[in-house]
């Protein structure tokens, strides 16, 4: 406990920790608080509105024609926009892949590759455009075969997405959102609001929103603190002195892990309290769940802090502080660009998303995934910290000196 307190105190003396606190505060002000002030309290809707409330739908009669038309346009232009790792990528297929795509379209529309090409050439020469992406509105009349069910259609779209390298609008997880959107009925909107007011008792919904924002940024923030903290020994020329002490590598590293996690989690609880106060102010007469903010912060964000810190410690011990920051930043960037903003809770995702104070049911439908994910992140984080302790032990005995990934870069720079 004495060592834990000392490590916490060391953090309190470091500039990076105050930068971290500032970033935590800034995140709160620009995300959650900003949302609340701009948007105001969610009041009970009085009418269905005019298409403001949309929902993902699974109606095959909407999805199949819309997706087919989109694929046909993309095929004729041979230009497909995909997001394989969260980044936009424009795909142009070669002849072999175009033929495979043509077979998929032929199965759905009955149009052969030659028919499509002839029409495309005619239209393109008529309007005199050859390079740009051209819309070909209602150019084809085709019948979708009766025997083509939604399951086979989804399989065909899966194949199309595979040909494109993944991340396209035709991917399994994107079909409903891209091509099946439909307006919510008044009853559905009211049911959604009732869920928010009575089941979530308002604070639960907002707690998820607050956790979503911090869940994105904490993976990034913690690596800076952990990397600077762990390399402080080397920067202060303390390594040999610490290595020569009696304390076990495991105890030292795990105490540091606990101290880092504790000191980085504590401000999140403070922010949760602030969020709680704001909600009370915005919903003065509501029956709020006064534990919700703290409960969600604990079960959602503590695993985030534990996994992010553990990973950062392992990367720092294996490589160096700068390399750890670069690697974890890259992981963060790729991870947070993936998938949708709400109900995006994969079992093994480092970052989970539910960027709304509404849609309780969507979240609850994935509660098992959520619990699994948070347990997985917690265990993975602790495991990373244990591995970091093993690597620290090897360094201490002079058996391992870290992979110097960036040494050449910096040596080269210093020579220049």
């Amino acid at each position: 406990m004495r060592l834990f307190m000392k490590e916490c105190r060391k953090l309190l003396h470091s500039v990076i920790y105050y930068i971290f606190l500032f970033m935590v505060l800034l995140t709160f002000l620009t995300q959650f608080r900003n949302d609340l002030y701009l948007h105001g309290a969610d009041i009970r809707p009085t009418s269905a509105g005019s298409g403001e409330y949309m929902k993902e739908g699974n109606d095959p009669d909407k999805i199949i024609p819309a997706a087919t038309e989109s694929l046909l346009m993309d095929y004729m232009n041979n230009r497909y926009v995909t997001y394989p790792l969260g980044f936009i990528k424009v795909v142009h297929l070669n002849n072999g892949d175009r033929q495979k795509m043509a077979l998929i379209l032929e199965r759905i529309t009955g149009l052969s590759a030659e028919e499509i090409e002839t029409k495309r050439s005619q239209y393109a020469s008529e309007i005199g455009i050859y390079d740009d992406y051209v819309e070909f509105p209602n150019m084809f009349s085709y019948e979708i075969p009766q025997d083509l069910g939604i399951d086979e259609f989804r399989t065909l779209m899966y194949e199309a997405d595979d040909i494109l390298g993944g991340g396209s609008s035709y991917a399994e997880e994107n079909l409903s959102g891209m091509f099946g959107l439909e307006p919510m009925t008044y009853e559905e909107i009211m049911a959604e609001y009732d869920d928010f007011e009575y089941n979530d008792r308002i604070t639960n919904g907002y707690a998820r929103l607050n956790c979503d924002y911090y869940g994105i940024f904490m993976i990034l923030f913690v690596v800076f603190v952990a990397a600077f903290f762990l390399t402080y020994d080397r920067r202060s020329h303390m390594e040999q002195l610490i290595y020569s002490r009696k304390i076990s590598s495991f105890r030292l590293e795990m105490t540091r892990y606990a101290a880092l996690s504790f000191m980085m989690f504590l401000p999140l609880l403070v922010m949760a309290a602030w969020a709680h106060i704001l909600i009370i102010k915005f919903y003065p007469d509501a029956d709020l769940d006064h534990f919700a903010m703290y409960k969600y912060t604990l079960v959602w964000l503590l695993p985030t802090v534990l996994s992010g810190t553990g990973l950062a410690m392992l990367l720092t011990e294996l490589f160096s502080g700068i390399a750890a920051i670069l690697i974890q930043s890259a992981v963060w960037f790729i991870t947070c660009m993936k998938g949708s903003l709400t109900g995006n809770i994969g079992k093994f995702d480092l970052i989970i998303r539910h960027n709304t104070n509404m849609e309780r049911q969507l979240f609850m439908d994935q509660l098992n995934n959520f619990i699994f994910n948070r347990c997985f992140c917690t265990i993975a984080g602790i495991l990373c910290a244990v591995l970091a302790a093993i690597v620290f032990g090897l360094k201490r005995e002079g058996r391992f000196n870290g992979f110097r990934l960036l040494d050449k870069v910096f040596k080269h720079k210093s020579k220049a």
Binding site: R2, L3, S236, L241, Y243, S244, R245, K246, I247, E397
Partner: protein
């Protein structure tokens, strides 16, 4: 339990490069000097003894405990590394408390030992000061205090006086001699004067090998009859340096008074045999093992 360190046939590699060759050494209670050039392998040997490196082969026992029992070894050993420093934002008191915790000491023991050691190393006025505010000499004294904090049987100090002014160096050597009672103190240095002034026993290292070990007086006596002084015309000083190993030159007008280490009587008129000191003996030791010394004649 025997109060000595035994090193038998120890080899050490950094990757594929061998840096220690068949080290055989026994170090007993008191001040022991490890003398050698920069890069001779002294720090590597120190780190092996502090359980900070692994040997490739051979045996090391510290007070009967095999070096593989790292926890026990670290408990028995105090280490002052060459580039000693502590977190700059900590105070003297805080730093000792922190290192005491890392050494597994109880709170009360830390307080007692810290107060006693701070007084002993004369840092009472500085105990609330931050490390970054201490002078080089104060830091080294704090280094000794931290190394002695857990009352170790063995104290390993690596190049402790480098960069200190003469007064601080003398104060530091005296401090080491004081603490050497009832414990083994290993002083690694390339400064001959430090060993001459404080050690009874020493080992001479070069290129990863022990060239000589034993009592300081015995090494000096081995250089008897190998040291001469000459007075020569200052114009011939470079010629003199080319032919002999010159350890000292004092310019006196148009003449130069030189001290020479030579196997036989030098071919210079008026050369007088002198009593060797440790520096002469060290140079002779290197020469007699075939190492080139200061541009003198090669063996």
């Amino acid at each position: 339990m025997e109060n000595k360190i035994e090193i038998k046939h120890v080899d050490k590699y950094y990757g594929r490069k061998q840096v220690l060759y068949d080290i055989d050494l026994t170090i007993e209670s008191g001040m022991f000097g490890l003398l050698g050039r920069n890069g001779a392998g002294k720090t590597t040997l120190m780190k092996l003894l502090a359980a900070l490196h692994k040997k490739k082969s051979g045996e090391i026992t510290v007070c009967g405990v095999p070096i593989e029992h790292e926890k026990k070894i670290r408990e028995m050993t105090g280490y002052l590394p060459q580039d000693f420093s502590i977190y700059p934002s900590m105070t003297v008191d805080e730093s000792l408390e922190y290192l005491g915790i890392l050494s597994g000491m109880k709170k009360e023991d830390i307080r007692k030992r810290r107060d006693m050691l701070i007084t002993r190393v004369n840092l009472n006025q500085q105990r609330r000061k931050k490390i970054k505010e201490l002078s080089g000499g104060m830091k080294r004294r704090l280094g000794i205090a931290q190394a002695l904090l857990h009352d170790p049987k063995i104290l390993i100090v690596d190049e402790p006086t480098a960069g200190l002014d003469p007064e601080e160096r003398i104060r530091f050597r005296n401090l080491l001699t004081e603490v050497a009672e009832n414990r083994i103190v290993i002083l690694s240095t390339h400064i001959v004067g430090d060993i001459e002034a404080s050690c009874e026993n020493l080992a001479v290292m070069n290129e990863g090998r022990i060239l000589w070990s034993g009592k300081v007086a015995d090494l000096i006596s081995q250089a008897e009859g190998k040291v001469y002084s000459v007075n020569a015309d200052a114009r011939f000083i470079n010629q003199l340096r080319g032919q002999y190993t010159v350890t000292e030159t004092i310019l006196q007008g148009q003449y130069v008074h030189a001290r020479i280490v030579s196997d036989g009587y030098p071919d210079i008129v008026g050369a007088v045999s002198e009593s060797p000191n440790l520096e002469d003996a060290y140079i002779w030791c290197l020469k007699s093992h075939g190492y080139s010394v200061m541009g003198g004649e090669e063996e």
